[in-house]
């Protein structure tokens, strides 16, 4: 099994660890490294439908397959290639038939509607070449309207069991929905599933809104709005859509807010007298603390996942660069060292990387570096890429890409942290400033 997998991988794991790739029995697993070039083939035969579950069984199976294939780590085998049909959830799996179509992973399931009208979905994940179940079967229950969430949860389970890492499919993205031409652009906050489904608008477009950010539990959203005519930070409750202004210093502008990992501290930029510095606030007490005081621009702060440090951008040396300081301010150390301008740093949920926007030679890039600034890698390049946000598992980055010229439009894209699998995230119109929620 392992040998077979390794032949599909780039052998980089083995190379890096100095160990020869050995043929051995082992669980079905994708080791996610930069070496994953050839996606793992898998099959999700249509879930067995009981009672009224027909269409939704097909929808759920298709969405699970789409989630997995969308990672770039897996490749769905088309159903017309299948030899075996799964007509009963409890029947033995014909492993030989799935081996014959080279399905390494197999996901089977059943969809029923119970007497209360709830959707009951069972699934199992199989390691075809080992002829074994991977993990144990599970049952999920939800409303029929919630079938997408059930499918995403199952796909997260499959992803986790095979990669050993957390999933990200049962998550949402808050973003700025854009309409109208460049010089009259209307913006409003919207929230959707990570894959672009189930869009709901959170504000109207009467006031300019910018850069929404989720709380660590996904229940609240920080954003900047011009509804008073001046940019101010608001905190919005996702469930009730009620909101309140956070920072009301007269004659000041506040923007670029982000929650700390405790969901109580917020770090943001405040501009007074033309000078922009970084502040933090305990949003329960409203007490704020100034963290930087330099005549230069200090903005785009982001906490480390343990809350002990803040990465931010500053032009204190004359060009915009990235710095790290303690959560209470104090001396900052510069971490960006390459040519060009660096901005919008965001600490990864795993804590090991910082994603950023880089501007160099009239191009924009999304990149990642280690938290000490080493091992910088640029993942994208275009006329204008900016504003990275991390998937809950730290494997994927979503960002804004804006096209050039008078008809330029902003859209959301995602890319794997290896730089592979660049995809446009489907949205109805223009979209910018995505922020990924935690796993729901």
């Amino acid at each position: 099994m392992m040998y077979r997998l390794v032949t599909l991988l780039a052998l980089i794991m083995a190379t890096l660890s100095g160990m020869p790739a050995k043929a051995q029995d082992g669980p079905l697993r994708i080791e996610i490294t930069e070496g994953v070039i050839e996606p793992m083939p898998f099959a999700v035969p249509e879930f067995v439908a009981g009672g009224a579950g027909g269409q939704v069984a097909a929808d759920i199976s298709n969405l699970i397959a789409a989630d997995l294939a969308g990672t770039g780590l897996f490749r769905a085998i088309p159903s017309n290639a299948f030899i075996s049909r799964v007509t009963s959830f409890s029947s033995p799996i014909q492993f030989a038939d799935w081996k014959a179509v080279n399905a390494q992973a197999l996901v089977t399931g059943a969809v029923d509607v119970d007497s209360a009208g709830k959707l009951v979905v069972r699934f199992r994940v199989w390691d075809v070449f080992a002829g074994q179940e991977l993990g144990s079967g599970q049952q999920l229950v939800g409303t029929t309207d919630g079938w997408r969430r059930i499918a995403h949860k199952i796909a997260d389970q499959v992803y986790s069991r095979i990669t050993g890492e957390g999933g990200y499919f049962d998550s949402r993205v808050v973003f700025v929905s854009e309409t109208g031409p460049k010089d009259k652009r209307a913006k409003r906050l919207a929230i959707m599933d990570y894959d672009g489904a189930n869009v709901t608008y959170l504000t109207d477009s009467a006031s300019l809104v910018l850069a929404p950010r989720f709380s660590p539990t996904g229940d609240r959203i920080l954003y900047t709005s011009y509804e008073t005519g001046f940019p101010r930070i608001y905190v919005l409750d996702v469930q009730s859509v009620s909101r309140r202004v956070l920072e009301t210093q007269d004659g000041a502008m506040s923007f670029a807010p982000r929650f700390g990992p405790n969901g109580r501290n917020v770090v943001y930029s405040l501009t007074k007298g033309g000078n922009t510095d970084i502040y933090s606030m305990d949003i329960n007490s409203g007490v704020s603390q100034r963290l930087t005081s330099a005549p230069s621009i200090e903005t785009a702060p982001s906490y480390s996942p343990d809350g002990s440090q803040i990465v931010f951008q500053s032009d204190r040396t004359g060009t915009s660069q990235l710095y790290v300081m303690g959560a209470n301010g104090g001396e900052a150390r510069r971490i960006s060292n390459g040519e060009g301008l660096y901005g919008t740093p965001v600490w990864s949920p795993r804590g090991d990387l910082i994603a950023f926007t880089k501007q160099s030679k009239r191009r924009f890039h999304i990149g990642v570096m280690r938290t000490d600034g080493s091992e910088e890698r640029l993942l994208t390049a275009s006329f204008l890429d900016e504003g990275p946000t991390w998937s809950p598992n730290g494997r994927v980055i979503m960002f804004t890409r804006e096209t050039q010229g008078a008809t330029g439009q902003a859209n959301l894209y995602s890319v794997d942290i290896t730089g592979r699998n660049l995809r446009r995230v489907p949205t109805a119109g223009g979209a910018s400033d995505p922020a990924w929620s935690p796993l729901q």
Binding site: R124, D183, L208, G229, N275
Partner: protein
């Protein structure tokens, strides 16, 4: 092998209908935009030719301020220092504001689209502040001025060339009567 079915974590399916205060509902709770007032002269967007009240031949009219005095100054890329041309324009703005004391000014700072959203907000604030400081130095009281930055959010020219960028790197002095600052 015996398969155990575990109950998935409780699937509190937040009513998918969660949110739903779509546009209309919120509109009710949104204050009228600060710049939507009738007295405000909005140079951005389609009011640009409408120029508020009065005509340019009346030296005390907003139209005169915009067209004859000049309501905006431009900046070199990624800078916020005032050029000689800008100072000349601002001298005229200061004289006009000192002669027309009913008017308040909001100074809007803007940036071109090169640069991140946050940086451009900060840069626009620097530009607006440069104008405010200059007007202050010319005797316009601080109580009559406010500054705001739009960063790259409100371009007036939409091409992606320097010819457009040069027009977008600006600070605009927007005057209004009794705006209730």
């Amino acid at each position: 092998m015996q398969t155990k079915f575990e109950r998935g974590e409780p699937m509190s399916f937040l009513k998918t209908t969660l949110i739903l205060c779509a546009g209309l509902a919120l509109a009710a709770c949104t204050d009228p935009g600060r710049f939507d007032g009738d007295n405000t002269v909005d140079l951005n967007g389609d009011n640009a030719s409408g120029y508020g009240s009065g005509t340019a031949s009346d030296p005390s009219s907003p139209a005169y301020f915009q067209q004859a005095v000049g309501d905006r100054v431009l900046f070199v890329i990624d800078t916020y220092t005032l050029t000689d041309i800008a100072r000349n324009t601002l001298d005229g703005q200061a004289r006009w504001l000192l002669a027309n004391t009913d008017y308040q000014a909001v100074i809007e700072g803007h940036a071109d689209e090169q640069g991140t959203r946050e940086y451009n907000l900060a840069l626009g604030a620097r530009r607006a502040n440069s104008v405010q400081e200059y007007l202050l130095s010319q005797g316009v009281p601080a109580s009559r001025m406010r500054v705001v930055s739009y960063g790259k959010e409100r371009p007036i020219e939409i091409c992606s060339d320097e010819s457009c960028y040069a027009q977008n790197r600006r600070a605009v002095t927007v005057i209004s009567i009794g705006a209730g600052m």
